[in-house]
Symmetry: C2
Subunit: 641 residues, 2 copies
């Protein structure tokens, strides 16, 4: 909390400087709003098709279940399509398309923002009576016409990153989360991810702004404090991929693994929400509601928590809805339909959040965690394998694509702005920001933590701060102004350098910091502080192999009391109410709810749950409920990362 | 052949009429060419990233294999990206972007076709010194501005169908092809698919043109013969999905199944190549190389066979290359990399063909067949399951998406042109065209065929001609002119009606025609002509379940001599040379090649092949090589459709 107070004052003091440099800023804000509403429309569009498909899948299942045969699946899809099409057509059209006619100097066009479409009357063979009309759609603001040739090749619409490439990566992170160690270290992870990322953002933003002011006037004038703060936010998200692949190969201590993984997964979510709040703050602040920036700041703070929590809730709810669907229907009898439903529900979570102007990344992350924690238990064996393998493959392809693209776009993306001074400042500030996240917070955490985070782990956490997909995606999303272009270039370079240098040095650093490797899942360095040199059985080839999902985990009793207080409360609630409600696990709600709720409990308990004898007890994880697991379950299925 | 001769004269006689109606046609052709080159650029663009990923996957494997650890996968992807980006940047830029400046009446713009981009100088707050420049990109030709509001919601770029939705559907068709019965009926399938589709196209095209001439002048004038011929080609492709799902559920006779499936898979390929040739013919004919249309016609004929065969070869070669990659490397040790390689190689096949101005759909279809026939045998168990399940799911989602979209777009796509006269003519002609395909050709086939195609099978083939994804995709690809818009509307309606009505009536029709259902794979109605009422064990739930892939097939000896001559020749070559070269199967090349080639044969034979004792004999199918299978293999893996 203390960090955020300080941060607020930084905002106060710097915000004053930024007014003189805000020429045309109101216009930019209108453009931003336009881009946002376009994005929202895209999401709604995709969402309507996703819902159509979900509806189709559910109806197909019902028809198959009831042995209806007069209509087949394609027929169903067509009919639903017709219905939705008619609704879209005859419901009030809410999208306003601003069109402007070219070659006629359209006098009717009087909006203050540029049109969405241009219509060009084009004479054919020079004869005007053979005019054709062509439509052109808005693409971007440009500064230099020369650059556009490269622009049309080897570049993609940044929206593709957000709507297509990021969701599977983030979902996979949630779906494959090693929840046992994640929840054990929840306090530390949340501290690093939420407080740490905020601290880092403001540290980088403030430092950068200070440095930029010392630079030549042209550069200094093009940056507002909000710009540098936005840069701070996007550069504070770290990428787990490279480090974790190495950790996986080496069987690094599970708690270090959980800290790095958990922090980098969550700080992606925090960074994206934070950067959104910063933009909103700018919008409110500059749209001139009186200049009382405290209000705007608190609104931004509210935005940050509001958006984060609402997105989290949407993700969790959609995950739980999928769990209920798979629990109370027999869609399991048709694994293909079940898998399709699973994929569609997960993707629609992302789209719902985006369409509601929340953060799809956060929603899909928590949806993935819920899907793994609840839905996974209800799935048929076929769907379990299929969904896991598919998301693993999608994640692999998407991540490698994004890193390839970062490389290619360094040369082909036309909006790079190389400024050596800004770039080198960016590198230094990013490192300082990372240090400002890890070291002070580790110190504070160690005050209260039982197994302390040793200094070699802290150094490793510092060095594990590679920048990746999320930083790049946020940077490339808006490259209108020169400041943003310089930020994109700097971000690209930081990503490239950290991935190559830090990624390559990980192995040596692990040796240098004497961090135990070749550790069994169950023997942890944190609690014993000894260096185990256990057999280095590979934890799975190919960047996280989930094939050995059936390994049973026998959990040492001694760890029970080390669990965080929060995790224990939640674990008990989860075992007694959530799991019985959402999965086929035991105890059932009949056992856990008070007697007065029996009718309701009976309704929510399936016959499988009542009659099973261990068949469905195979659970997706055993992290939160060790006490109960010891009683009820002996054979836990724990997905490997 | 006789049909094609007739067809030629139809072209002759009608082609003369079309000249008066070709005002602005040369312009349209330029536009088409522009669209084609844009599509090619898109394909090249995607292809470069796919190659990058293939390169990354192979290098990752090499690094893992050699235990190199100084560089990790993401680092690799970035470095390759940088290299490729630099090449793109500094190699001569070949893409010409036509830009035109708006508000300034750009005098430097003097091209006869509309620009790719417009730059708009937009004054901010009315002050011209604060001008910003925005770029707009070409979208389409429009006729009515009012319609554009719907246009921006709930519609997709038609290119998405071709580059994203169709490839997995077509690949899956090839990958899941039941090759045993496909090859047994190869002659009939090829006859229906190649000759029949051509006959049907010309029948529909000719009839439609004749009918259109009798209609009101406005309509008549807007159609050229090439337009109606194009319509004939696109409406002649049939969709297997709905019918086959029902056939699958009912265990319909395997030969009827093979005929319907084989024909509808191949006629998609034929229709797309045919429609391309028709467009090219039009281009040559109208670009005025002298008006000698015989030349253009033979060129179109050459196009048709040339493009088809070249695309087929590219698909087959890419499939074989993947087989060699998986045979001679140990990438199998890392199933995730192996699956990624498999997916990337298959997708790149589509893109290579498209970038080479061939037909990606044909290439990816034959690539799928080769992947199933060769590569599948080399894959690890994990990759086999993963690739099959993934493509099954992708196919399911893509097909349902496309049918939903057909429904939605009926109302939301702005370029529909409802003309009841044209639509009803279209329905009748489509049915006549289908009849002109099936009945005469069945008669001819039965003259030479041993197990004749009974008349009830012929009726079923006629009714199985639902129109689907391919027809729609071809129709929506170009909606510039009013004629094309009327064709899109008619095609959409034909698809919707046939899918709902014919799809729904399939079950009743099967009864009506007394077609045997509940037939075991091995007892066929064709050869015995008896009605079996065997146990109706479902052939797999959920639209083609591949879970029972290990069912061993014991093939009755009596069928040996019924195989087509072509199939027998190919089967022997396949068993003796192709399979030993491309898979781990036996006999090895050491056994089958002449002694003089021994050094080469040893090079191409892996140690697994030499030492195996039945472990790798599990083959993906046993269709072509029954004689040899009886000798070498007892446990065949045959993917179920």
């Amino acid at each position: 909390m203390i960090y955020q107070m300080t941060a607020k004052y930084i905002v106060y003091s710097f915000a004053i400087f930024c007014i003189p440099y805000c020429n045309g800023a109101a216009f930019d804000i209108q453009l931003d709003a336009k881009a946002q509403s376009t994005h929202r429309l895209d999401s709604l569009n995709l969402l309507s098709y996703t819902f159509l498909l979900i509806l189709t899948v559910l109806t197909i299942w019902l028809f198959k279940h009831r042995r209806v045969s007069f209509l087949h699946e394609t027929g169903l899809a067509v009919i639903y399509g017709l219905i939705v099409g008619a609704i879209i057509r005859y419901s009030g059209s809410s999208s306003q398309v601003l069109n402007m006619q070219v070659y006629g100097n359209d006098p009717s066009y009087n909006s203050s923002i540029p049109p969405d479409t241009l219509s060009l009357y084009f004479p054919i063979n020079g004869k005007s009576q053979m005019n054709r009309t062509f439509q052109y759609v808005f693409r971007e603001q440009i500064s230099d016409l020369k650059q556009n040739e490269i622009d049309l090749k080897a570049t993609f619409d940044p929206e593709i990153f957000f709507n297509i490439i990021l969701p599977p990566i983030i979902f996979h992170a949630g779906y494959s989360l090693k929840r046992k160690y994640f929840f054990r270290n929840l306090g530390a992870i949340l501290t690093y991810a939420i407080i740490g990322t905020t601290v880092s953002s403001f540290a980088v933003g403030g430092l950068m702004y200070g440095c930029v002011q010392l630079m030549p006037a042209k550069l200094a004038n093009s940056f507002t404090f909000l710009d540098t703060l936005y840069f701070g936010a996007l550069i504070s998200s770290t990428d787990p991929l490279t480090i974790l692949a190495i950790f996986n190969d080496l069987n690094v201590d599970v708690n270090l693994y959980a800290l790095v993984f958990g922090e980098s997964v969550l700080n992606d979510a925090v960074a994206i929400v934070l950067s959104g709040s910063i933009q909103n703050y700018g919008k409110r602040y500059q749209s001139g509601s009186g200049g009382f920036e405290t209000k705007a700041f608190f609104k931004a703070l509210g935005d940050f928590f509001g958006i984060f929590m609402l997105s989290l809730v949407i993700g969790a709810v959609m995950g739980c809805v999928t769990a209920l669907m798979t629990k109370f229907t027999r869609v399991r009898d048709f694994p293909l339909l079940e898998s399709a439903l699973f994929v569609l529900m997960s993707y629609s979570t992302f789209l719902i959040a985006e369409a509601a102007e929340l953060t799809g990344v956060v929603a899909v992350l928590f949806c993935g965690i819920c899907q793994a924690h609840y839905t996974y238990n209800n799935l048929s064996e076929d769907s379990r394998i299929r969904t896991k393998q598919m998301f693993e493959l999608l994640n692999f392809l998407a991540e490698n694509f994004i890193f390839s693209y970062i490389g290619v776009s360094m040369f082909t993306f036309p909006k790079h702005h190389f400024d050596p001074l800004f770039i080198s400042t960016g590198f230094i500030c990013a490192a300082i920001g990372r240090a400002a996240n890890i070291y002070p917070l580790s110190f504070l955490l160690n005050l209260g933590r039982k197994p302390k985070i040793p200094s070699n782990f802290q150094h490793m956490l510092f060095f594990a701060g590679l920048r990746g997909a999320m930083s790049f995606a946020l940077a490339i999303r808006n490259t209108m102004s020169e400041a943003r272009q310089a930020m994109l270039t700097t971000t690209s370079l930081i990503v490239i350098i950290t991935v190559i240098i830090q990624g390559g040095a990980t192995m040596s650093l692990l040796n240098w910091f004497q961090i135990p490797v070749g550790i069994d899942d169950e023997t942890e360095a944190l609690s014993t502080q000894g260096v185990h040199s256990g057999g280095s059985t590979p934890r799975g080839g190919g960047g996280g192999d989930w094939s050995e999902i059936n390994g049973s985990s026998e959990f040492p009793k001694s760890h029970q009391n080390e669990k965080a207080f929060l995790a224990r409360i939640w674990g008990s609630f989860d075992t007694h109410y959530m799991k019985p409600l959402l999965t086929h696990s035991r105890p059932t709600l009949l056992d856990t709810l008070p007697v007065c709720c029996n009718p309701l409990a009976r309704l929510l308990t399936t016959t499988e749950q009542m009659t099973q004898e261990g068949a469905h007890k195979r659970d997706s994880d055993s992290d939160l409920c060790i006490e109960d697991n010891d009683l009820y379950s002996t054979n836990n299925v724990r997905p490997k990362l």
